[in-house]
């Protein structure tokens, strides 16, 4: 069966435990392209689905360092190299006085880097998605625990997937057109 016409198969589960069990069951059956949609964060679910890395913290560290060290460098360049002014005999490079602005910019740049990396990592902003066509998908932001097996999974075979999903106690199964 060709996967071109389908985005994948969607299943709904009744409880967080059933969803977790289904993720485990599908992984055991060899599926790799899984997506779980929940109305609230479920701890460990992302790690159970795939061994992808979360770069947010690293991005924030780098952002913070760039902001802090960059502001210190800017202040040094401005006050000691580009336009030194003698203010009451104070040293051109007044490091203690340089710290406040650098500290603020550390936090600002870390926050900006974190938000940008979260959005890029999540593939956002995104105006449309095949799942938005499904009425049932609106449950993912309210009361539904949904699991999608994507059609680009090497093991994907629509009928077999839906059989596997119902064996894993899905309460509702449907096809997602692409």
């Amino acid at each position: 069966m060709s996967g071109a016409a389908e985005y994948g198969s969607l299943a709904e589960f009744a409880s967080v435990e059933a969803l977790r069990a289904a993720v485990g069951g599908l992984r055991k059956r060899g599926y790799t392209r899984l997506e779980a949609y929940t109305p609230f964060p479920v701890e460990g679910l992302a790690q159970a689905i795939a061994t992808s890395r979360d770069w947010t913290a690293v991005a924030m560290l780098i952002g913070g360092l760039v902001g802090g060290v960059g502001t210190l460098a800017l202040q040094y360049y401005s006050a000691a190299i580009n336009y030194p002014i003698d203010v009451g005999g104070r040293p051109d490079a007044s490091w203690p006085a340089f710290i406040p602005a650098a500290a603020e910019m550390t936090i600002l740049f870390a926050a900006l880097a974190g938000v940008v990396s979260m959005l890029i990592g999540n593939g956002l902003p995104r105006l449309h998605h095949p799942l938005f066509e499904l009425d049932r998908f609106s449950k993912a932001s309210r009361d539904g625990l949904l699991l999608v097996v994507r059609a680009d999974d090497p093991h994907y075979d629509g009928e077999a997937v839906r059989r596997d999903l119902s064996e894993l106690d899905a309460t509702h199964i449907e096809t997602v057109p692409s």
Partner: protein, 446 residues
Amino acid sequence: MNASAQPLGLDLQAVTDPVSNIVLARAPGRGWLLAFVASIVLTALLGSGIWVLLVRGVGIWGIDIPVAWGFAIADYVWWIGIGMAGTFISAALYLTRQSWRSSLNRYAEAMTVFAVSVSGLFPILHLGRPWFFYWLAPYPNRMALWPQWRSSLLWDFFAITAYLSVSILYFYVGLLPDLATLRDRARTRGSQVFYGLLALGWRGEARHWRRFETLSLILAGLAVPLVFSVHSMVALDFSEGLLPGWHTTLFPPFFVAGALFSGFAMALVLGIPLRRYYGLTDFITEAHLDKLARMLLAVGLVVDYSYVTEVFFAFYGGDRYEIALTLNRLGGAYSWIFWTTILCNVIAIQLLWLRRVRANHIALFSIAIVVVIGMWFERFMLIVTSLYRSFLPSSFGMFYPTLWDLGFLVGSIGLFLLLFLLFARLLPVVSMFELRKAVGSRSRSS
């Protein structure tokens, strides 16, 4: 949905639907409309004040030499302080895993964003030539102009910029999952497009949530030192100066405490009517108001301790100018302002020791209003009493506010209210996904 799904599903609906219906299904109501019109009128007053200020200059205010900082700087310090409690509630209580904050953090964060935005207007308008305010930023220019890095005023500029930007990011990122809920539940095309664009395509996938949770945690960890540093920088604007009453190491922690104090008061001032008007009694419960009241009392006592410390150190330090300033504050031309501050910030809050007062919403609301007013008087007192009599009798002089001074104060309240009313109308006032998370973790443990 099969039968076994009912409990969790219904619980999740029970926290999602009432909050999203406020935005999607409920008519604004007469109370909201009246407040909206009033806030527009006051905002127009601020707008016309700004117009007159740009045309005629800061001379429309009562500021002069020696009191060159008047209402504008008092308003600025007051507003930025009010913002602090929002960050504290959403970040510090998140890090300490106080789950009760989930009902409060959304509107508290909105309060922060709006209060900081309003506060940022005042130092810019006070510059004299506000249209050159961007000269404070280090940017490549043909004037060979660099900011003065050793000045606390520059630190303050960086602090406000960072604080406002991080507050907006923190607020917006926390809104994403709830905006997605509104997008999915919206019925009219207009609101679907509006919330759809704002939600950025958020879908709540497991990996989305994982990055989201990491980001929220680290942002909270950054926001706490940020907010403490911001209020310390505001205090350094004063304590880097040599004036008696300003030049003291007490100021940074004193300002942090004062900011928390006015912020918790404002959180009650906004929270009590919000809860009543929208019927949010299941979300913002009696217990929440009680906790806010206790926090208000606790930080109020820290502020009161600072008042005592200020007076004590003036005499203990033995500096004649500090002593003269303190005596002037207690008995000089502006002593009524000092004693009003004491009445509002020291005496009135002692009522909060009584459980009966904390449980009475009208009393609690009134005390919070009194504290908000008292904190404005405190800011005014700190600024004006140090300036009007500093060292030399030849440079003594009184400050008399003009109508525009009052207009800017009242107008800034109008602008803040306008922003908050729009927030309450257009965005979910309670964080739905955090409540769902609480429901989800309860169902798992049972």
